[in-house]
Amino acid sequence: MSLASIADNFFGLFNYWVVILLMMIGFYTVISHDNLVKKLIGLNLFQTAVFVFYISMGKISGSTAPILMSGKGSEDVLYAHPLPHVLILTAIVVGVSTTALGLALVVRINEAYGSIEEDDVLEADFETQEEETEEEAERMARAEARQERESAQQDHDDGREEEDDDRETRS
């Protein structure tokens, strides 16, 4: 493979390289950043990459925007494929809504937890969870002790016998 062909390959598929690069940046941001807003930004980048991917897909080399021309020579005009644009318009709307909803959630999270770092929020969650677990363990122990007392009273005479045998044989 000659250098020229590599270069050709690269520049010929230029739009895809951009898409992949953008996508990876977005993905990496989502994975690596704790800040919820940054995560959303990463998500947006990721989505934008897909938008670019779709739009570039509809491009035909030498074509113009798909607006119907009238007049002389309009029969020879080469238009870009309009359908991907339309599709991506919908996807953009979805993206905007997602971002808005995500940001709204971030605002609420900030109000509820006082932080928008995911680590802190998770940590706070774990703490409440642990408190709850401990509380529950305590309550369970109390309930069990009470129940054992009760069942010991009720069941005084016909429970399991091993314990008794054991005591007898030792005596």
Binding site: A65, L89, V93, S97, A100, A104, V107
Partner: protein, 150 residues
Amino acid sequence: MREHTVLRVVTKVLIAPIILFALYVQFHGDYSPGGGFQAGVVFAAAIILYALIFGLAEARRAVSPNLLRITGALGALIFAGTGVYAMLRGGNFLDYDYLAHDAVHGQHYGLLLVEFGVGLTVVSVITSIFYVFAGRGRRNDDEQPPGDAR
């Protein structure tokens, strides 16, 4: 930014053309690039600009959140209603051919109505989103839940 006279004046001058442009994009959308989405966003930009310069309270007085809720829902209803109307006239959902006596007019009306619905909803939703975020932390009495941001 109420003190910046330049900004206030320029804004006052600009808002009308922005809205006009939005309307152009809206109603010329079936012949040239444009349509409800774009027009809606441009229109919302005008409102947002107004809010930025003259303050949120002022903007809320001009375009109240309650109004936005109603127009947003109405927009969606117009969109879906057009489709249903086509159904009632014997066509499929959103089949504009059935909206008028002949297909060409039908297509025209249908497109116009649907785009109008879309535009109305987009204006309302974008502005609502702006209100919600901008109003957060200042006035909690009429806060909107995130569920509103569709």
